[in-house]
């Protein structure tokens, strides 16, 4: 060790250093740039003088309202279907469980447009299941807001299942034993012990699912189509506006960016259960 370093002020063993080691710093800067530069570009090119005016246009308002409705609806669907699924995957030892888990993760790795096509073939007017719906009620999901919600739920649900399953797995099962000895039946235990224990994972899962649903493009346009007010969510509106009204496109993008930042910051590291 050099003499100079002897003069360094003493540091606690195990204290996190202020400067990362050089070998890590390079990939860190690259990674940071990769994420930050596109956002910086967005902010740089934003037509700040027009923002307020553009925000008030009907295109933006309609798309935004529709996006919020669809994404929140998709989040709700993901929760209703995803939580029981996560429970089964985490707690019940059914045969083929790993296969089931792989299937639920499929929408995450599938290109969204492929997901959209698959949804069409299953739930479209002529689809596997959709044809019965159409024959019985004359109603078909494509081109409807419900369809957009469904497409978003399809891509978003795996995120919720993943986080909630992780939370359930890491939850201490013995606490449920303790609850049983105190007289709690399975439902009470689930309600008063299990759910509060996985609450952080649950919120993270909901937030992830909502964010994913909000940003969905490919599956939505393929399955639900593109019509202002019914199925033209913000991502679709951005794409369409990019050709004719680029400023509106940028404003919409800024809006989504702001919304996403608010959600992420409010979650503040609570992605997975911290222990």
């Amino acid at each position: 060790m050099k003499l100079a370093s002897v003069v360094k002020p003493p540091r606690e063993v195990g204290a996190t250093s202020r400067w990362p080691p050089l070998a890590l710093a390079v990939p860190f800067v690259l990674a940071l740039s990769f994420v930050v530069l596109p956002l910086a570009g967005l902010l740089w090119k934003a037509p700040w003088s027009h923002v307020v005016g553009d925000l008030a246009t009907s295109t933006v308002g309609t798309a935004l309202r529709l996006s919020l409705v669809c994404s929140l609806g998709a989040m709700a669907i993901s929760a209703l279907l995803g939580i029981p699924l996560a429970w089964v995957l985490a707690r019940v030892d059914i045969p083929g469980r790993s296969l089931l888990r792989a299937l639920t993760m499929l929408p995450m790795v599938l290109p969204p447009v492929v997901g959209g096509v698959a949804l069409l073939l299953a739930f479209g007017r002529n689809g596997l299941v959709g044809q019965w719906l159409y024959k019985a009620t004359g109603y078909s999901l494509p081109f409807t807001t419900a369809g957009a919600m469904m497409a978003e739920a399809f891509v978003a649900m795996p995120f919720l299942v993943l986080t909630v399953e992780a939370g359930l797995r890491s939850a201490d099962r013995r606490l449920e034993d303790a609850a049983a000895t105190l007289g709690a039946n399975r439902w009470t235990t689930f309600r008063r012990v299990t759910i509060p224990m996985v609450a952080p994972s649950l919120f993270a899962g909901l937030a992830l699912a909502w964010a994913r649903a909000l940003g969905e493009f490919g599956a939505t346009i393929t399955f639900a189509g593109n019509f202002p007010g019914t199925t033209q969510t913000v991502p679709l509106a951005v794409y369409v506006a990019l050709e004719s009204q680029p400023e509106v496109a940028i404003v919409l993008s800024l809006l989504l960016l702001a919304l996403s930042i608010v959600v992420l910051v409010s979650l503040r590291d609570r992605w997975f259960p911290t222990r």
Binding site: A4, S5, K8, R18, W19, L22, A25, V26, V29, L30, S33, P38, G41, P111, V113, V114, V117, L120, L121, G124, R125, N126, S140, P142, F143, F217, G218, I221, T222, A224, G225, N226, F227, P228, T231, Q232, Y239, V240, L242, E243, S244
Partner: protein, 320 residues
């Protein structure tokens, strides 16, 4: 951290940032195919016409570091367009990226094959999409050498800004109603599209020329239609009909012909000339193209009798 260590540290970071900056400045290589350092347009319709379940992967708009950073290539061959003689010069070599409207898919694929047969040393890469999308891609720096649009407005966006110098009309197209095979809803006229039991899908008027023309045609005919969806390119309209998700759409005559030829379960209902709109297709070479020779040769071929014959075989009309 001590000063020498900190200095080393900061130098390394600066070197990194410099590396990123040079990587982003998008040097266009003369003989590049589709993979260049700057923004790559994601292709849509596959080059070979595949049956019904073709996925029209609508691309996300591309943004490169800055369009103005694209350096002018050095030593490009003469930029004057060659006269329209058949380029049987088989010593022609190089590459070109052809950006063409989706409705040109079938015809241009054949033209590409024929052109390459005549010029074996040439490499062509086709990019088919809605004309509006293509314009956006080009404006954001996509490396197109030739642009063939489905309408004049989109071409004007590029020629008006000086990106294309001499656009030429090379084909005309007419609109047609596309319906499910055997026309189960018995659609015969534009007016039928307004029926409550008919669900209609159109191209987005803002970005798809066919959509814009369809809107004009419907307005001129006094037919009020609320479409179920405004698709982002004309092929997607046909797809929706083929998948039986909608009952009718308005596309080009050439689209219907191509779909039927590909085995899709659609049929066409012609629109009488009085109600129809003639779409004029212009084509032009990008001024910034580093592959002027190949690009000009391609345009020349499209305009040549051989090219025109191919276009006609796909249902296009001669240029007006």
């Amino acid at each position: 951290m001590r000063s020498p260590a900190r200095l080393r540290y900061c130098l390394a970071l600066v070197a990194c940032i410099a590396m990123i900056a040079t990587a982003c400045s998008g040097n266009r290589v003369k003989t590049s195919s589709s993979s260049s350092a700057s923004a790559t347009p994601t292709s849509t319709v596959t080059e070979t016409a595949t049956p019904s379940v073709t996925v029209t992967a609508t691309p996300t708009p591309t943004v490169s570091a800055s369009a103005s950073a694209t350096p002018k290539p050095s030593g490009s061959p003469s930029a004057t367009p060659k006269p329209s003689a058949s380029p049987s010069v088989s010593s022609l070599s190089g590459s070109a990226n052809i950006f063409a409207a989706a409705s040109l898919t079938g015809a241009f694929n054949k033209i590409k094959a024929d052109f390459i047969a005549l010029n074996p040393k040439v490499n062509l890469t086709m990019n088919y999409n809605g004309s509006g999308s293509l314009v956006t891609q080009i404006q954001n720096g996509a490396p197109a050498d030739v642009f063939a649009s489905a309408d004049g407005d989109n071409m004007n966006k590029l020629s008006g800004t000086g990106k294309i110098d001499f656009p030429q009309n090379f084909a005309d197209n007419l609109l047609e109603i596309v319906v499910q095979q055997n026309n189960p809803k018995h659609i015969a006229t534009l007016a039928d599209l307004a029926r409550p039991d008919v669900s209609v899908v159109l191209g987005d008027p803002a970005s798809v020329p066919a959509g814009k023309y369809a809107k004009q045609a419907l307005a001129a005919a006094g037919v009020s239609v609320t479409p179920k969806s405004l698709e982002l390119n004309v092929t997607a309209v046909t797809q929706k009909i083929a998948l039986q998700e909608a009952d009718a759409g308005i596309v080009y005559v050439t689209d219907v012909k191509a779909s039927v030829a590909a085995g899709q379960f659609v049929d066409g209902v012609p629109i009488p000339p009085a109600q129809n709109i003639v779409a004029v297709y212009p084509i032009g070479v990008l001024k910034s193209s580093p592959n002027q020779a190949v690009a000009q040769a391609f345009v020349a071929y499209v305009k040549s009798p051989a090219g025109q014959a191919t276009l006609a075989s796909f249902g296009f009309l001669p240029p007006s």
